[in-house]
Amino acid sequence: MAFRTLALAGLLATTSTMALAEDVRIGMITTLSGGGAGLGIDVRDGFMLAMEQAGRDDIEMIIEDDERAPDRAVQQADRMIQSDDVDIMTGIIWSNLAMAVIPSATAQGVFYLSPNAGPSQLAGAACHENYFNVAWQNDNLHEAAGAYANTEGYTNSFILAPNYPAGRDALTGYQRMYEGDVAQEVYTQLGQTDYAAEISQIRNSGADSVYFFLPGGMGIAFVRQYAEAGVDIPLVGPAFSFDQGILGAVGESALGVRNTSQWSHDLDNPANVAFVEAFEAEYDRLPSLYASQGYDTANLILSALDVAHPDDADAFREALRAADFDSTRGDFEFGPNHHPIQDIYVREVVEHGDGLTNVIVGTALEDRGDAYADQCNM
């Protein structure tokens, strides 16, 4: 089941044995198979698009599929750090895997740039000078959704998320901003595929809105079964529950749903317009927010490599912290705990050609940092 890809950026025919001493090795552990595959594939494709555009021949990529299994990710990380001698690691999608891999990687002197998972622990007490999150702190999109639920006048939400670090961050984040009551709070299993019991609870809860965080295959299964069950309580979610991959699979039933995101393909800035066009040309599909996160992560790394080699850790870290790259999100800067400070938008699902996509309809939070920065001492 395990496979291993050695890809040389720029696709030049240099073999790894001929690599020069100052070459940079980047290890990417991400989810490329199973119910979470869509997320990892998008992160990888966005990342590799930026690498290809840069056309550098001194970067060696090592890509592994973690199959969303923490033990597998830990093994792969150990091998990358101890025998492949990587300088930078990236790629992890799921926060439970992130918690298993990142603290030990950064403790061994490797730089870790997260293109997705942003567990609260790593933003707060367990922050590290070599750890950067290029996407968001886990709570962010959920906080924005809570703020949005207030403006919609929802006062009784049924809230639902998988029982793992990001799921708990999600419901915490939503309730941080949301001012109404919670009809019921439910945790499901990570990777659960049948939501009949939860949908029955929703139907009987008397809630006026359902807030759910179910990324990847879980979201697809939930939205399809929700439509099937004929429950008509409005759904609200973060972008993860309505990303491009999910919209392709759930069809009409998602039309008109509002969700919150730090990125959308219609964000009007030159970097984003160029990214969306290049991604569609390369992969023949619309990019998702995960793809934009992978692309931004690669461009941040490239911008820092222009300044210093990771072996010069202090200079490389300073260059990362400066975030001197053209983000697809427009303005982009890091807070004191190396997590983004950024605007978070409200998007609506609309028809687009034969399928569906999201367009921005408003801004939920401006220049939002995160709630854990105070606890971080680096």
């Binding site: 199973g34 595959a37 594939i41 029982n163 009949a196 069950a229 699979a249």
Partner: protein, 306 residues
């Protein structure tokens, strides 16, 4: 909790239970008759789902897709039995586990090679989509009712097949004494292939039916396989009746556990930790059930005395 919600959850548990029964019936028959531990049973479930998704994409017909799933799984089951499994009957269980685990890897990678690693989706037919109103004013998904109906009908058919037909007599005889029925002139090789294909077809049907409400993806069979093993251990290995009762017990325990445990813990702790503890414990509930049953009946509810 209102009565309507309880009834709805019982239906959910029943639907999950009959789906598990379709998986467990094949597994328990194969173990009972041939003494074979077939880890690749989950792959047959996956093959059924992929055959259905592929056929539905080509023809647009759900019913053709179901038929294709049955046939594809039965065919693959029969071929696998003749090519691989037949060589394993005289080996010990460890060899069987090793060989059938290899089959899982081969089928998973083969399917990924053919269909890619992104999930496929199968739509429910128009006639079965959306909810229907049951007597008492309860809304429930038509498709889930359809799964319950099909599962119960197949359970009935299997009891009839095992209990009332010549083939059933041969199967029961095969469970009791393999050498003797071979000596009596029954073509044991053909019987084994037939039983294996029957079990495979049931797994394929389960995969196809579930594929329409979940996603059709590589590796979808293994979580169900684990539950199916729990079912046959609870029910007693080799017993169809045990598999049926075990499947319903597991289905109801899992569904009601997910719903009730967080509420029970809510009585003694604050809401947020109650949901976390309840959800964690709910995922263990069926294993606790299994351990409890094995404590009092070591060979399962309907297993032979050992």
């Amino acid at each position: 909790m209102s009565a309507a919600l309880l009834i709805e959850q019982l239906l959910n548990g029943l639907q999950f239970g009959v789906m598990l029964f379709l998986m467990a019936a094949g597994l328990t028959l194969i173990f009972g008759v041939m003494g074979l531990i077939n880890l690749a049973h989950g792959s047959l479930y996956m093959i059924g789902a992929f055959a259905a998704a592929g056929t539905a994409a080509l023809t647009g017909s759900f019913w053709l897709a179901l038929a294709a799933a049955l046939m594809a799984a039965a065919l693959v089951g029969a071929i696998v039995e003749m090519v691989v499994i037949r060589r394993l009957y005289d080996r010990d269980h460890l060899d069987q586990v090793l060989a059938t685990f290899a089959l899982i890897l081969i089928f998973s990678e083969g399917t990924r090679f053919l269909f890619g690693s992104l999930p496929l989706y199968l739509d429910t037919p128009d006639i079965l989509s959306g909810p229907t109103t049951l007597p008492g004013g309860l809304d429930y998904s038509k498709y889930r009712l359809f799964i319950i109906g099909v599962g119960l009908a197949i359970a009935g058919g299997l009891f009839w097949l095992i209990g009332r037909t010549r083939l059933g007599i041969q199967i029961r005889a095969g469970e009791a004494d393999r050498e003797m029925i071979a000596a009596l002139g029954v073509d044991i090789r053909k019987l084994y292939t037939l039983v294996f294909a029957l079990g495979a077809a049931l797994a394929g049907l389960a995969g196809a039916m579930i594929g329409a409400i979940q996603a059709v993806e590589v590796g979808m069979g293994e979580p169900v396989l684990i539950l199916a093993f729990v079912v046959i251990v609870i029910g007693g290995i080799g017993s169809i009746k045990g598999a049926f009762i075990g499947a319903l017990l597991v289905g109801l325990t899992d569904t009601l556990g997910r719903v009730l445990l967080p509420q029970v813990f809510g009585l003694i702790m604050d809401a947020s930790s109650a949901t976390t503890v309840g959800a964690s414990l709910a995922s263990m509930a069926i294993y606790i059930l299994m351990a409890g049953i094995l404590l009092f009946r070591p060979s399962g509810l309907f297993g032979g005395q050992t």
